[in-house]
Amino acid sequence: MTDSILSVRDLAVEFDTFGGVVKAVRNVSFDLTAGQTLAIVGESGCGKSVTVQSLMGLIPMPPGRITHGRALFKDQDLLSTGARGIRGRHMGMIFQDPMTSLNPTMRIGDQIAETLVVHKQYSRKHAKDEAVSLLARTHIPEPGRRANQYPFEFSGGMLQRAMIAQALACEPAILIADEPTTALDVTIQAQILELMKTLQHDNGMSIILITHDLAVVARMADQVAVMYAGEIVETGSVEDIFYQPAHPYNQGLQQAMTSNHEPDRVLSPIPGSPPDLFSPPKGCGYCKRCPHAMSVCAEHPPYLTAVDASSHQSRCWLHHELAPVHNNPVRRP
């Protein structure tokens, strides 16, 4: 892809724990297109947060270990030690819980200004003025007064705005948002999502959005990567993922959700629970829960297969030419 701004290849991350080695992320590859939003979606423990934390150098090592992979941003590998200057400057990150992600002993304005002093060598005064205008851009009322307050004086929605202001301080090319609205009420979620869209439109930045909420994905994403048990099992445009789901896990997710078009459709849940990542299954991670599992699935890991001529890919043996054909439920747009 020519306009890919970030290209991750074969990323693998492990953690040493008392119970043994957890293979949290395996063979993860994706491309982020400039100016677009890539949503990485999956259930808790599927490795979506670990994937972006490794890009930002936030994996505690030890016990964590990046065993394999490259992440190229402007010809520089983010996983190598020389990439410190990129993070914070060209890549910003916002986290799920704004209460615990900001320093409770520093004024909000100073925390934002610190980023500018470190990365752009602004003077303290200049940085503080800039912080106030960033708070104004994220629609915080009375930004001048608010900049001198501490995190406990802010509500959850306002803290999330302040964190966005901090992440955007250096006008990064990439914003990583790890469950940015999970802790917020639906009306505040709508405010934050609209703010992210507006800022993306104005700055032309790319967003990696980590979430488990498919409704948020539908609202925000251009491209989607569905993760399960440490691997990307399906990737494609947001329309492909919702209207032409190819992997049985994604098909299961689509049937497990309520729909406003068919208010009375009975939900069909996915039986069972995700596999234990201490000893990932030999074959496909989903085969124990899969309604179409074949004997090959338990023995051999499937590989990402192109589903159609576009970027839509799925990691499943059913796409093999010898596999039986199943009639899949398809949702209409």
Binding site: E43, S155, A190, L193, R219, T258, S259, N260, P263
Partner: protein, 314 residues
């Protein structure tokens, strides 16, 4: 079956201040109905649920259950007496199970408190219920930490339903769970509701799920019910400005629908529930606010069984 009349709960905040958690709420729940209660955090929906099962005392109003007035403040013997019929399923399956008790102890405790001491019968009931909620009977010797969130929520459901209650308050039973597991729990609750003839008060902030499981839906804002009616009607034909904006803010898992929709988020944030004025609680954020909104809003019957509290509908 369950009738709340002008129920209020105030928490004292010191220096003469009072937090009006629930104020003047009336709601009736028919036998074998599911009533969904939605609202943002701090709207008082959990406080209301806890008052019904006696975990909070109430300051004003009456709650009557099968024609019998429930005590304002539950004493130990009231809990023992009503626990047989009123039960609660809690939000956080990690915090609501005692980590030092085995699953057998957790599930059998309610039976023992009700005087069922025959060991074989109790073990039989525990085995039966573990199977009903989709767990293995061997699991009864394990401790809560050995289970996943979805499994713990099943244990919480088994604990609440073991003694065959008629009325269950489900306080955000699926919020802590993953999407694929949410549908499992929702379907389990629907099946048990049908087979046991349960009446449910289903508290949640996920509007789509509430619409799906409920017969009726009530929307709370800052301690008041602003709209109440048949679930599909409230969801697809909301009348109160808050309900309209709440439903417009709720994204759908459908990219085409999302692309064609412009969201105008509600401005501002929920104001303080401490010593609120007499007027409409939503007035400071309402896009259609008028001068009369400083007066208490009237309750308007929109259609049969569908009411909303707003001056604009008058």
């Amino acid at each position: 079956m369950m009738a709340l009349t002008n129920v209020s709960k105030f928490f004292p905040m010191g220096r003469g201040k009072q937090l009006h958690a629930v104020e003047d709420v009336s709601l009736s729940i028919g036998k074998e109905q599911v009533v969904g209660l939605v609202g943002e955090s701090g709207s008082g929906k959990s406080t209301l649920g806890r008052m019904i099962v006696g975990l909070h005392s109430r300051d004003q109003g009456d709650i009557s259950y099968d024609g019998e007035l429930l005590p304002t403040r539950f004493r130990t013997q009231d809990h023992l007496r009503y626990a047989r019929r009123l039960q609660m399923i809690f939000q956080d399956p990690y915090a609501s199970l005692n980590p030092r008790m085995t699953i057998y102890d957790i599930l059998s405790e309610s039976l023992r408190l009700q005087g069922r001491t025959d060991a074989a019968a109790v073990t039989g009931a525990v085995t039966e219920w573990l199977k009903t909620v989709g767990l293995h009977p061997d699991h009864m010797t394990r401790y809560p930490h050995e289970f996943s969130g979805g499994q713990r929520q099943r244990i919480g459901i088994a604990r609440a339903l073991m003694i065959q209650p008629d009325f269950v308050v489900c306080d955000e039973p699926i919020s802590a769970l993953d999407v694929s597991v949410q549908a499992q729990i929702i379907n389990l609750l629907s099946e048990l509701k049908a087979s046991m003839g349960l009446t449910l008060l289903f508290i949640a902030h996920d509007l789509s799920m509430v619409r799906y499981i409920s017969d009726r839906m009530a929307v709370m804002y800052l301690g008041k019910i602003v709209e109440e009616g048949p679930a599909n009607e409230v969801f697809f034909n909301p009348q109160h400005p808050y309900t309209q904006l709440l439903i417009a803010s709720n994204p759908e898992p459908d990219p085409a629908a999302e692309r064609s929709r412009t969201v105008v988020p509600i401005r501002g944030e929920v104001s303080s529930p401490v010593n609120p004025g007499p007027g409409c609680r939503f007035a400071d954020r309402c896009p259609n606010v008028t001068t009369q909104c400083a007066l208490p809003p009237p309750e308007v019957i929109v259609s049969e069984g569908h009411r909303a509290s707003c001056h604009l509908l008058n």
